[in-house]
């Protein structure tokens, strides 16, 4: 990662105003969004939107033609171009031909994208942003930090300072008063402006209409007062039919600001009379700027379904810590990373794609049904393809894939780290450059004997009818073999013999999440061979990330590399794969496994691991199991928000991982429960290590350990 980028992250993390404002906003957003969608079938709505936007993305040329024809028939002038420079030139030409001296703008990300303001200003034209947030950042000389709330990173005191300079009067930081100042300052600008420039939230091909969605009323003034109106619209805003406005207007305000509808929606379908009786000079610019290339890409076409609500920013555990400016460009957050890679260039996403922890929270709320984390993974893959895997990473993968070598190296490090682990199960401090890794979190000491060796010493009952292959994964194998022992005990009790094929290796997640798909495919092939070698009824894993690899990602990795040979076996493995809690819940329900009766084990809280909840959709099984065992579930705030582990993420960006963990620890402690359960050894490592340094008396357990203690004799 670039030094400069690391520094911008550091700066953002130490900006208390920023993290405070974003943190509070994201907490309120979640609640308000849910309320705004009450009574609405969100899945059905977003399927409709994905369908109509997807249709538009595959008919861009046709819809652009139709839009142009219909809008021109109504008297608008339509200009189409792929080139941002031509957009700027066109606008300047219209301005100069009409003697325009001042322009008012309503909020438009498309004009931010092409840096229109400095261009017009250089030509001697006064440009005034009128959206309050945009005006604030214009005065501050900044770029928007959020697509919907451009100035969310600033405090009222900072705004008061800016406005004071503008009106040459010392203003207090009273928000209603500041808003009044903006109204009074901007009103004369509206009235004298010769040209209004807007964006467009939708462009309807069938009628040649553009729709503008705002709260402040500035777009109504921008499109009503000046005699010239230019709308700059990216072609991803095209929809085929007028009725398509309905579903988008239903989702956009709810997802963007948790409103049922914004204060104003304007649908413009041709020039209208000016107040002096003349007709409006209406120009609509349909801007491509690599959007049609994006639409032609079989994977990234999906990103054209974005309606620019920014909900992916609002639910992102990273965005709420670092804000928008670390993204460096116009578009920010999850979707912004993808748009930057296309509208700018792939290389521009090199650093920012690394910010994504792959928790999947954005995918769940996206009204355009875009697999944002999936597309960011694809960016990683393409970046690696273009630039190769860094040498250091390459050597790490080589070690990870050699299980014996990997364990002995970890063990050696762990023993060498003995002075640091002080006889506990933790490494609390690491020397020098490794210190950051134990900043706020202790690392687990490496087990003396890996699970693969412990397994050989377990005596299983003879003559069990069913067989399950156990896929251990790195953490259970090397750090938490006791979890594996607990799993064997539970399955044996249900009449299932456990097999542990020695040939199993890393699930490939570390390589895959870093874009090294070739390495991940090699891991997939080795594991398929090992896990399918002996006939078994199930392949079980107690690590959701590994489960997802076996269940989904081996297939996806092969498919994206175009390797068809092992696909049937990958599918066979996927069909057998099941996560620990889902299988054990099933065994209990079928009466094959009995838990102790009448136990009163007290309060417990449950942390949802990202892959278990959002990919495997298995968030209920562990809760029900724990309740059946006799625990009383007390839900924590944001139970399904990432713990900050994210595999190697916590190694690459420990400064971001640590505050995410702190928030999680607080939410756990706030429940007052003495135990927190989870289904992922990675989350256990993160949260147990965090609790150790925190010193709180909260036990951090994998569900497998808790259930193993409650089996009926």
């Amino acid at each position: 990662m670039q030094q400069e980028f690391k520094q911008s992250i550091d700066k953002a993390l130490h900006n208390a105003n920023l993290t405070g404002a974003l943190g509070k906003f994201s907490e309120a957003y979640k609640v308000n969004r849910a309320k705004a969608y009450e009574g609405i079938d969100f899945e059905a709505l977003r399927t409709t939107i994905a369908g109509l936007k997807g249709y538009a993305a595959s008919h861009l040329e046709e819809l652009s033609d139709q839009f142009q024809k219909n809008a021109e028939a109504k008297g608008a002038k339509v200009f189409r171009t792929n080139d941002p420079a031509k957009v700027r030139e066109y606008i300047l030409k219209v301005a100069q031909e009409n003697g325009v001296r001042s322009v008012v703008k309503s909020k438009s990300m498309a004009t931010e994208e092409i840096h229109l303001n400095p261009y017009l200003e250089k030509a001697g034209i006064e440009v005034g942003e009128t959206d309050l947030g945009e005006w604030i950042i214009q005065l501050a000389g900044q770029t928007p930090s959020h697509m919907v709330m451009p100035a969310i990173h600033m405090t009222k005191e900072e705004v008061a300072d800016l406005f004071s300079k503008e009106v040459d009067e010392r203003l207090a930081s009273d928000i209603p008063r500041l808003v009044k100042v903006a109204r009074n300052e901007l009103r004369p600008k509206f009235l004298k402006a010769d040209m209004g420039i807007s964006g467009g939230n939708m462009a309807v091909a069938e009628t040649g209409s553009i729709a503008l969605v705002t709260n402040e009323g500035n777009a109504r003034l921008v499109t009503s007062l000046p005699k010239i109106h230019i709308a700059v619209v990216g072609i991803e805003k095209l929809v085929a039919k007028f009725s398509d406005i309905g579903p988008i207007l239903k989702a956009l305000p709810r997802s963007a600001t948790a409103q049922l509808l914004t204060s104003y929606v304007s649908i413009i379908s041709g020039p209208t009379p000016n107040s002096d009786g003349s007709m409006k000079d209406l120009h609509i610019i349909l801007m491509d700027n690599r959007r049609s290339e994006m639409a032609a890409d079989p994977m990234f076409k999906e990103a054209m379904q974005c309606i620019r609500c920014a909900s992916c920013l609002n639910v992102c555990p990273i965005f709420r810590l670092v804000g928008g400016h670390v993204f460096g460009k116009v578009y920010t957050g999850g979707i912004g990373t993808i748009l930057t890679a296309w509208y700018d260039e792939l290389k521009s996403s090199e650093d920012i794609q690394g910010l994504c922890i792959q928790c999947g929270a954005c995918k769940d709320v996206c009204p355009g049904k875009i697999d944002i984390p999936g597309l960011i993974m694809e960016l990683r893959r393409r970046l690696v393809k273009e630039q190769g895997v860094p040498l250091l990473q390459k050597s790490i993968y080589a070690v990870v894939n050699n299980r014996r070598l990997f364990h002995s190296m970890l063990r050696a490090a762990s023993v060498a780290g003995k002075p640091f682990s002080k006889g506990t199960k933790f490494i609390r401090h690491l020397p020098m450059f490794l210190a950051e890794l134990t900043d706020g979190r202790s690392l687990p000491a490496i087990a003396a004997k890996p699970f693969r060796d412990v397994f050989k010493t377990i005596e299983q009952p003879k003559g069990l009818k069913e067989k399950a292959v156990f896929y251990g994964g790195c953490l259970i194998d090397f750090a938490y073999p006791e979890m594996g022992v607990a799993l064997v005990k539970i399955l044996n009790r249900a009449g299932i013999e456990v097999l542990f094929p020695e040939g199993q290796t890393c699930c490939g997640a570390p390589a895959r999440y870093n874009g090294a798909y070739e390495t991940a495919a090699g891991n997939a092939a080795d594991n398929i061979e090992a896990l399918l070698a002996e006939p078994a009824d199930y392949v079980i894993s107690a690590c959701p990330t590994c489960t997802v690899a076996l269940d989904h990602e081996f297939i996806v990795t092969f498919e994206s590399l175009g390797r068809k040979k092992l696909l049937p076996q990958a599918r066979e493995l996927a069909a057998k794969t099941i996560d620990f809690s889902t299988l054990v819940k099933k065994l209990v329900d079928e009466g094959r496994l009995s838990l102790k009766e009448g136990q009163q084990l007290g309060a417990i809280t449950y942390h949802d691991s990202c892959h278990l909840k959002r990919t495997l959709k298995a968030d209920q099984a562990p809760r029900q199991l724990l309740a059946q065992a006799g625990y009383e579930l007390t839900e924590m705030f944001e139970c399904d928000t990432c713990c900050g582990m994210g595999g190697s993420y916590s190694l690459k960006l420990p400064e971001i991982s640590a505050p995410i963990l702190q928030r999680k620890l607080k939410n756990i402690k706030d429940t007052g429960a003495p135990v927190v359960a989870m289904d992922c050894p990675g989350c256990v490592m993160q949260i147990r290590g965090g609790m150790d340094q925190d010193g709180a008396a909260v036990r951090v357990r994998h569900t497998v350990e808790l259930i193993a203690d409650q089996l009926k004799d």
Binding site: R187, S224, S263, Y264, S266
Partner: protein, 182 residues
């Protein structure tokens, strides 16, 4: 539908009134503009965009109020305390008013003044946006305006603040016996 509309509109800080006849609504309007201090001075004008309601009532009562004007100019609208116009539809599920606002005076009186009074025939109520979309023909309306509550912003520290560029108050007046348009 009216009750749902009222709940939703009030939920976004609009004020909702209902009268059975245009004459009763007229009485309300005359009282309202007087109470708001409409007068013949900049900042205190009243502006009324031409509409069917005006044809249905004795407008002399309003004309008698100093500072009220019916041929709306941009200067007058910019200096107005109260702007009045008639809207065409009301969407119950979001508390939204919809108008064919192609004529610029309709937009001037609903954007520039401090208070916007929106008259609406009760027969213009529709259940929701899809019901309205099925009826409308954008071919005949070059500027369709939807209004849901007064102008608002949350751009400074996400604190909801009413009245940034548009009206600070939205006063909605339903009139039952103002038929004809739908």
């Amino acid at each position: 539908m009216f009750n749902q509309f009222k709940t939703r509109a009030e939920g976004v800080s609009a004020e909702v009134h209902r009268f059975s006849t245009p004459a009763e609504a007229l009485d309300f309007l005359v009282g309202f503009v007087r109470a708001e201090g409409v007068a013949d001075q900049p900042g205190q004008y009243g502006v009324f965009a031409d509409c069917p309601f005006l044809a249905a009532v004795d407008r002399q009562q309003l004309e008698a109020v100093a500072g009220m004007s019916f041929a709306v100019t941009r200067e007058q609208a910019a200096g107005a305390k109260v702007g009045i116009s008639q809207l065409d539809w009301a969407l119950a599920d979001t508390g939204t008013l919809v108008q064919d606002a192609t004529a610029v005076d309709k937009r001037l009186v609903s954007t520039l003044p401090t208070i916007h009074v929106a008259l609406i025939a009760t027969s213009g109520l529709r259940a929701d946006m899809p019901a309205w979309l099925a009826e409308i023909k954008p071919e005949s309306a070059n500027y369709i305006a939807m209004i849901t509550g007064p102008s608002r912003t949350a751009d400074i520290e996400r604190v909801l603040t009413i009245g940034v560029h548009g009206p600070e108050r939205l006063v909605i007046v339903f009139i039952d016996q103002l038929g004809g348009t739908h």
